[in-house]
Amino acid sequence: MNWFDRDLREKTGIDGIIARLELQSALGSNLCRRLHPTSDTAKLACEYDNTEKCLPIVRNKSRYSEFAEILKQFKDIGGTFKRCEKRLTLDECELFEIKNFAILTEKLRKMPKPKLAGTAFSDLSGVVSMLDPNGEGTASFYIYDAYSPALSEIRLKKADIERKFYSADVTGRKSLSEKRAAVSEAEKREELKVRERLTDRLSVYCQKFSKTAESAARLDLSLAKAKMAADYNMCRPALCGEHCVKIKNGIHPAVKESVEKRGGRFFPVTIECRKGVTIITGANMGGKTVALGVIALNSLMACMGFFAFAQSFSFCPPDFISFLSDTQGAFENGLSTFGADVTKLKTVLEKMKNGTGLVLIDEFARGTNPAEGSGLVKALAKYLNARGSVSVLTTHYDGVSVFAGAHYQVRGLKSADFEVPDFQSGSGCAALIAEKMDYTLEKTDCHDVPRDALRICSLFGIDKELILSAYEFLKAKEESPDGEQTEP
């Protein structure tokens, strides 16, 4: 998935969200690292099913900790399995690890659990008894005497020599030392033969070992996804036939936490975006970028088989997701902000020729002169609206929504009613604005953008003369013949 790049990961913050998964085993973590988005609806439905099946477990504290305890102990011994398959003689430590793997598998297999797609826990009791020939039931491993009568005999001989050692004199010791060295050699040779035989017998189980490890990983990941779903009140994504993204009360957990930490209030995002263009307009500091972020994160999560952070979420998995906003690194590449925007847009338009995607563009052409910028954004909206991808654009410019399929406005300060107090410092204003700002998205048929900028300026205590002058200019522009009016 070459569209699932570092830029998208950073913009959506998905890595931070995935890091919150409570995975128990290295197997689960490794599987998680290999996760990538897909547009295969059958695969996604499977993943959602697996997560849903695990919900009852995570909601039951004692059942959940039972699973967690066992999964925690699974080690990633894929290297040992490969060696075994190739019949490369395993050493005592590797045999110990296989024994423990088999013991854990047997424990897990016998536990009542949901049948998850893609998992199969094989019967490894044969392996356990092979590596526990005396039936001791311990997890430790030793090259037991029971494996070879010859070995048993050699060891008795060795113990005999060792007993004589302490009572012998210096010359006696020397010859006993030599005898002991010879017997030790013989012991090592016989132990090797035993290990070769065991490796041989274990090699037939290798496919089962790998499948079991994969199953344990899947179980771990599904439980972790379910736990996250329960902890954050997530919803199962509904799969649509037609291209769209519909979110009801969606959030971005990291942004929400950050806002609440500052004492603010996070407004969940409710929006319906269909094929073509949806426009979002709103005042500065009005949360438009956050709205795009919520759509991007949840769409990406759903493409990766996760539930969504929303009350409800429906979509058709896109072929790609592109999120163009606040282009970082622009200056390092010798490009202006606008230059970087254009470069990225070119890539997106190319992608659109070969697939249907989800395209999120935040304030395109904000850095250029308003006349050209406005024209460009209108043209972009018109172009994208005629295409099959789902595009969501935020903008400052008036009249763009004429070319779009739908227009949402951030409610902003318009319904807020308050006196403009006599603020000396800016930070008091920022707090007041944050308090009064309503970030709810409202669908509208109007094609104008909200005009809160001047109000915000006056709240910040900017010189009254400047504000009044600005109002004059605004009034004049609206009344003049080449003022920006809605075009037919």
């Binding site: 005592e92 430590c93 030793y142 090259i143 060891r155």
Partner: protein
Amino acid sequence: MKEDFLEQFKKELLGCRAVAITGSYKNVGKTTTLNFIIRLLSGSEIGITSVGRDGEQIDAITKTSKPRIYIGGGAVVATAKSCLLESDASFEILDMSGIGTPVGEIVIAKSKSPGFVELAGPSISQQLTAVCKKMCYYGAAPVLIDGALSRKTFALPETADACVYCTGGALSCNVGTLIKKTLHELALLSVKEADAKTAALFDMTMNEASVAFCYSDRIEKSSAKTSIGAEKEVVGRWTDDLQAVFIKGALTDRFISGIMDSRVNVKKVRFVAEDGTKLLLTEPVFRRFILSGGRLFVRKGIRIIGVSVNPVSPDGGRLDFETFKSVLEKDTQIPIFNAKNLWPDVIE
């Protein structure tokens, strides 16, 4: 006499959770001492590990032949995988610790028969504590920790509750010189533990500071990251109501000398360091401090249960052990012994 000492020493060892074998220098007989203790405790289920790697066949630096560790059956050993598998003892694998070393993952295993083994344990303090805990869990009592040279700080006192201090001709063959050096080292390691109230204050305060000042009604933390160079601040804060100075990390000559030179009345204030291994003080400076009435304590004391002496020096010299012992005994209660004398048939 010899039997009494062995009996007493054995009892002492069995009463410990973990014993560190530390040395003042290379070739002072740490490994021989370890082998001797292993032999002494045969029949008990002991644990053995090391700080870092030791017990190699030829000392990598001095090229003298180093004795290897000889263990009996039923010993719980924590060492790197390759060392374990090369040993001529056979082992029952108990645990793969997940702790890596340059020579492989550390395995905890129980010997099923006697044999020679090379020890390569963890070299990071927290890992060592974790490994010792696991060994205790598998029944090892006590755990013997072979400390590598100049890393005596690692095992003590977080992990080990007692220590056997090794010294010998390698440090000096002159009885007088060695006595002086040994007594000084022992004095530093045996500095008394602070009382419970002071210890609690130390724990509470020193999480966030390296130097702190206890007055009669408050504690003030210094912004200094180490005591090195902080002596000026100490002198500056020396008021009538200063009761104690807490120091985390190394306590150096410069620090103590700096305070002594300012002519403050050191009798009035208690100095509390973390433990004996942090006292990097030379004999003259320490003596001057104590003679002036200076009071030094540590948060955690170290119990030295024996001094092991290797009279032989790598360059062929020999220390007069009997004289050394009789002179040293006048100034310390800690038992002094020569492992090879007591048990010439220690297998190496």
